[in-house]
Amino acid sequence: MAFSVKLLGVRGTLPTPLTPSQREDKIKQALQAFIASPQASVFEVQEFMSAYPAHLRGGYGGHTSCVKITAGNERLIIDCGTGLSQLVPELADTEFKEGKGTMHILMTHFHWDHLIGLLTFFPLFIKGNQIHFYAVQPELPQVIKTIFQKPFFPVPFEKLGGTLHFHQLKPREPHPINGFTVSPYQLDHPDPCWGFRVERQGAAYSHCVDTEGVRLTPEELGPDLPLYQNVDLMLFDSQYTMQEITEKVNWGHATANFGIDLALSQNIRKILFAHHDPFASDTKIKETSLQVQHYYDSMRRLYRKNNMPFNDVQWDIAREGMTIEVKA
């Protein structure tokens, strides 16, 4: 195994916790389905729940963008949405508690949904911890200093216990970071946003959130094409449906169908669609996945009809907590 990618936050723009009545509805639906099922016995609850559709069971998740990449003891974090809070229990009894931890965090850009998880990330507050931040944007240190100041937050930057290091990445160049090779490429977003190609032992993960996918062909992508070429796993922005994307021009987010086409043309083996619209219910996200299947099937027929080689692509809707092993 080269490395694993865990999705800690897959929601876009705004954290989207289920309301109490939405939770109640999910429980009600599950109970009704259980009572109606042939295995309605208390001994079969686990079996029933395993077969119950994921979007009805736990949904897709409400935490905003955060991804953890690990290989053995080496770890990278991409973006600090509220999903970063999911990492806190895991780190609670580690060297970070004693001020002896080192963390490496890549930042795509600085919209709130990619930053706000830092406010409760305890390693920042404990003296001795070394936190390394990486971004292409030169304003990285200023942004982090800005969020840790009154009246936005009670603890000012100067009082953070941990030592923060800021590294500016050169665009489109490989950087060795904690056992991985990280190359930033520009995404299509209203404020500059950089995706990352992360490689290790010949396996490649491509992080493409947030992007509108304005550029899709090799000619249009130009120097940013390598972000998509021969990738084992890509996380791609799919905030909108194909219908919505034409109504939300310059909003900075894409549709899953763009990801399918990139995968078919650039030999991407697996895609997960993320950055779900905060106003999309779990049912709507599931319906969108059926539309993606319709599009994928339609493209498969078209490729074959036009005698074009069609390499099957594995795709799925990203769910919070998913872990994917990335191998070459």
Binding site: G213, R215, L216, T217, E219, E220, T241, M242, Q243, I245, T246, V249, T255, N257, F258, I260, D261, Q291, H294, Y295, S298, M299, R301, L302, K305, N306, M308
Partner: protein, 165 residues
């Protein structure tokens, strides 16, 4: 796959018809219709081989610039109708459908063939499909069958499916 191409000509009635062909992707350069004086813009899509998601976006952003125009579409390919099932603003709401392809297959040898349905022949002005094209397989001569989900396919074209299919 050949790149997108557009040309226009005049048909037997002296009506101007745009012929689109090749691949519609995000690079497709559609013609400007601003100065077209004809009351109806006629577009023949029969030679378009593929339209991907980038092409869908480019197409919609183009055609929505001409909301005030009346469109008539000829030889709509089956993939275009499939896309219409996902994106209902792919063609303006009050467009005229002059003809469209329906995919058929041979249940014996799996041979595919797209058959053309015409307004006033297989479907009416009031939007009802009245006649099913009958075809036999060129290879094994058994009757071919349409390979569509009848209801959603015709409804995407704003047509009522036939009562008995």
């Amino acid at each position: 796959m050949s790149e997108f191409n557009s040309k226009y000509t005049h048909d037997a009635n002296e009506d101007m018809v745009f012929f689109f062909s090749g691949m519609i992707d995000s690079k497709a350069q559609f013609p400007s219709l601003r100065d077209v004086k004809e009351p109806i813009i006629r577009i023949d899509l029969g030679d378009v081989k593929m339209m991907n998601s980038g092409g869908i976006r480019t197409w919609i952003l183009w055609i929505e610039k001409y909301r005030e125009k009346q469109f008539s579409f000829y030889r709509i390919p089956t993939f275009f109708t499939n896309h219409l099932q996902l994106v209902d603003n792919l063609i303006p709401k009050d467009s005229n459908i002059a003809s469209f392809f329906v995919p058929y297959f041979c249940p014996q040898c799996d041979l595919d063939n797209d058959l053309l349905f015409y307004r006033d022949k297989e479907f009416t002005n009031s939007g009802e499909v009245v006649l099913l094209v009958k075809a036999t397989c060129a290879e094994c001569t058994v009757p071919m069958e349409p390979s569509i989900h009848v209801d959603s396919f015709f409804r995407a074209l704003n047509l009522r499916p036939p009562q008995a299919w």
